[in-house]
């Protein structure tokens, strides 16, 4: 009965047009109704806005090595996240660790800096690829770089590189969210939400490396990059609940990766990036409209030996960046300061090695009135340094 009726209704172009317009309008209305409201234009949030009013300088407060899980020889690619003021921990560090990079036993490790004892807690593994695969419904060959973020509800979100077939060229970014009731490391656990949909080509090859930029609406912008021969940076916007809202390509250049975001103002953002070219420089791009569009800038004068960099804009006129300053190696790791992301002045030489020494993949964070820096030390451990703001210091 239905088929003859449908045939009659759709017999002529005019009837199909009328029926189609009605169904089409209904479908579009349903699409709009089932979507979240479009958020307001993004505005970044300063970690420490009052710093702009307080002349002074950073002074080294403490340093050392973050504890490693037992019997784990290799570590790399740390990320730092600030915990809530009411939390027992000031900072949580995550990194990947195992026998070596890309080994099948690599897991995501974590440690927390306890406010009371002023010490890092013993490290433990919090994410492994078998649990991730079981929750995703499909396999994960290897785990890599983690990046952490705490949402306004106090839940820790982790974004972790997870590979399919083909190594890092087949990488995806998996989004996990804290599932334990407490952020205390002893019981910290995560549930997998999804592999972020970022690419039509079987959802490869996107990776994450550097910290997100916090927004005033409670959301954040996560810098990521595509890597399959060519390399280009992309910004992902998330709302306060951790739902992905959209993506924007940040540069037309095809040799740059691992962007780090620094805010110059609420809507003026800068992205500094690693350069894969020989004799590379730290490359730059900027957005003047809160991340809706980006434009390439001239390279910085600073050399980049195809190495990861990490930066943060803490207050108006105060940006810090950790990077390998030697043009051909990762022996030297510096911390520099700038007011405008163009002219950088050395604050402290974090590490100065020789020969095959490697100090690399830094992370920077402002928390508890301090600038925290962590970095890979010889691919065997994660080193850290804490700098406290000293008012009126020269």
């Amino acid at each position: 009965m239905l088929k003859p009726l449908l045939t009659e209704l759709c017999r002529s172009p005019a009837r199909r047009l009328l029926l189609g317009l009605g169904l089409g309008a209904a479908l579009l209305g349903l699409d709009v109704g089932l979507r979240p409201d479009a958020p307001a234009p993004a505005q970044a949030a300063w970690p420490a806005p009052m710093l702009a009013l307080a002349p002074g300088a950073l002074g080294l407060h403490a340093q050392g090595a973050i504890p490693m899980p037992p019997d784990t020889p290799a570590a790399h690619a740390s990320t730092l996240v600030a915990m809530a003021p009411s939390d027992a921990a000031a900072v949580t560090a995550f990194w990947f660790a195992g026998q070596r990079e890309s080994a099948p036993d690599v897991q995501i490790a974590a440690s927390q800096f306890d406010r009371a004892t002023q010490q890092w807690t013993p490290a433990r593994f919090v994410v492994n690829r078998f649990e991730v695969g079981a929750q995703l419904g499909f396999g994960v060959r290897r785990l890599g770089n983690p990046v952490a973020w705490v949402d306004p509800q106090g839940r820790i979100h982790l974004f972790v590189v997870a590979t399919g077939l083909g190594g890092w060229a087949a990488a995806r970014i998996v989004h996990l969210r804290q599932s334990s009731a407490s952020t205390a490391l002893a019981g910290l656990s995560f549930e997998v939400l999804r592999a972020l949909p970022l690419s039509w080509l079987w959802n490869t090859s996107f990776l994450v490396r550097t910290a997100p930029l916090a927004l005033q609406d409670g959301g954040m912008v996560l810098p990521v990059h595509f890597e399959l021969g060519i390399k280009y940076p992309v910004a992902l916007r998330f709302d306060a609940q951790g739902n992905m809202l959209g993506m924007v390509r940040m540069s037309r250049r095809l040799h740059i990766l691992q962007p780090t975001l620094l805010m110059a103002s609420d809507t003026h953002w800068l992205a500094l990036m690693r350069d894969q070219r020989p004799q590379g420089k730290i490359t730059a791009a900027q957005s003047l409209d809160g991340g809706q569009s980006w434009a390439d800038l001239p390279d910085l004068a600073l050399a980049n030996p195809d190495a990861s960099i990490a930066g943060v804009g803490v207050a108006p006129g105060h940006m810090w960046m950790a990077y390998n300053s030697s043009p051909h190696s990762r022996q030297v790791l510096d911390l520099s300061h700038a007011a405008d992301a163009r002219q950088w002045a050395l604050t402290r030489r974090l590490e100065a090695g020789s020969g095959e020494d490697e100090f690399s993949y830094p992370a920077v964070l402002w928390a508890d009135d301090s600038l925290w820096v962590s970095y890979t030390d010889q691919r065997e451990r994660i080193a850290w340094q804490r700098f406290v703001w000293q008012p009126n210091a020269p």
């Binding site: 317009l21 077939l165 997998v192 079987w202 037309r252």
Partner: protein, 228 residues
């Protein structure tokens, strides 16, 4: 102009399926696609046996963990598109209904499928080159927004309207509209309309079919000219 296009096409209201829904779709879609593949490979045996084998493969894909082929297919290729799953389901129905689907089989060789296939091939090239950053704007990012759904809706509706009198109401363009409606309701597979309409394997298949038909046409023309 690029900034204007970026602003027009930029989307920041993506709607992704829930983790449970995404998990269910991945296993369900691979179950249907693999069942159709097995049914196609088993041509020549009885319908009952073909459907039995297809059913067994479908059940296997719904199991959790590494025992399911979907676990490994998902590792490599994520989830099939809604259109791929729909075509696979339609094929299984055709196998089950047997000779009654003769006219349906004939329709597959018709012009309307060639037009739809051509559109699919073109879209795939646009998306592949977009992945390689050829275009000034990100086409894939646009697929998270309502404007992309609207464009697909207009194109499919126009093609469906224009084809009145030459194809049945439930022809290929109506199928595209059905996929779009299912996407709006479920956001399968991942909230991006391009992934709902086309996956790389379907795109490769369309090109293969297109190349085969082109070669066959050239061969037939050559044969006709020889015998003239």
């Amino acid at each position: 102009m690029t900034d204007y296009l970026n602003f027009l096409l930029h989307t920041n209201a993506a709607s992704l399926p829930s983790p449970a829904s995404g998990y269910g779709y991945l296993h369900g879609a691979w179950a249907v696609v693999m069942a159709a593949a097995v049914a196609w490979l088993a041509q020549g045996v009885s319908v009952r046996v073909r459907m039995g084998l297809a059913g067994a493969v479908a059940v296997l894909n719904m199991l959790p963990g590494p025992v399911a082929p979907a676990y490994w297919l998902g590792l490599a290729f994520q989830a099939p598109s809604l259109l791929s799953a729909g075509l696979a389901l339609a094929y299984l129905v055709a196998v089950w209904r047997g000779p009654a689907l003769g006219p349906w089989r004939g329709a597959l060789a018709g012009t309307r499928w060639s037009v739809l296939g051509g559109v699919g091939v073109a879209l795939g090239w646009v998306l592949l080159l977009d992945t390689l950053a050829w275009w000034p704007v990100s086409v894939y990012a646009w697929g998270f927004g309502t404007s992309a759904v609207a464009v697909v809706l207009v194109v499919a509706l126009l093609a469906w309207v224009v084809s009145a009198g030459r194809e049945p109401a439930c022809g290929p363009w109506a199928g595209v509209l059905g996929v779009l409606a299912l996407f709006v309701l479920t956001r399968w597979p991942n909230g991006n309309v391009w992934d709902a309409l086309l996956d790389p394997w379907l795109w490769a298949g369309l090109q293969g079919v297109g190349a085969f038909r082109a070669l066959r046409w050239v061969w037939r023309r050559g044969s006709a000219a020889t015998h003239a």
